[in-house]
């Protein structure tokens, strides 16, 4: 089970704070594809992905128990 945290406009648009994926292991790339298909997040390729609070690349592996976050372009400061 992989938790995917949502923030900002993604959270608003999907109307929830997280998604739970029933997966044991997948690459970040696979996770992006899954989100695009299942949640119609077509802009998912422009998000950064964090695994356990560190930015990840598309080839990184997400395992069950990891906390993933979708990070749309930030605008703090």
């Amino acid at each position: 089970m992989i938790r995917v945290l949502l923030f900002a406009y993604i959270k608003e648009r999907l109307g929830k704070e997280e998604i739970v994926l029933n997966e044991q292991q997948m690459t970040v790339r696979q996770l992006r594809e899954r989100l695009e298909q299942e949640y119609h997040l077509q802009a998912a390729s422009s998000f950064m992905i964090a695994i356990n609070e560190e930015f990840a690349t598309d080839d990184d592996i997400v395992c069950a128990g990891d906390v993933v976050a979708l990070i749309p372009p930030v605008s703090g400061g």
Partner: protein
């Protein structure tokens, strides 16, 4: 001092956190809520953060600065929640022995915040609202409810 807070930022505490007998310069940056952006009047802002990660990333920025300026002391506090015009959204204080480093390190901190710290700003105007960083998500009230276009 690296923190994400919901209450008004106390600038004096941020500055005190970097005071040092070896400091000759303390440069402070305050990011404040501006009323006009591209001629459009902001009513208020809402900041949201991935708090635990944002805290870590602020600490990382501090470490990056000290790696480059070993005598620097850095403090960064970012506020989230609703902010009104002229409120302080972020305070960055850097002290160094000599002033050129303090200016440079401080500027570095704000640029890095805008790159790697998971904080998002939503602007509210009289006639709409928008998550900044994603211009496509503009919602104009006068055009009715948000469309179901895909994101």
């Amino acid at each position: 001092m690296f923190a994400i807070v919901r209450e008004p930022i106390h600038v004096g505490s941020v500055i005190e956190a970097v005071a040092d007998r070896h400091a000759g310069a303390i440069v402070t940056f305050l990011g404040t809520v501006r009323e006009l952006t591209n001629g459009k009047k902001t009513v208020y802002l809402q900041y949201e953060a991935y708090e635990s990660m944002a805290q870590k990333k602020l600490e990382q920025i501090g470490q990056e600065i000290v790696a480059r300026f070993p005598q620097a002391k850095v403090a960064i506090v970012h506020r989230i929640g609703r902010l009104d015009i002229a409120d302080i959204a972020v305070a960055i204080a850097v002290s160094t022995p000599h002033r050129a480093d303090a200016y440079e390190a401080n500027r570095y901190a704000i640029e890095r915040i805008k790159e790697i710290v998971p904080i998002w700003k939503k602007e509210y105007w009289e006639d709409g609202e928008m998550w900044i960083g994603n211009q496509k998500e503009t919602v104009r009230y006068d055009h009715g409810a948000p469309k179901e276009e895909e994101i």
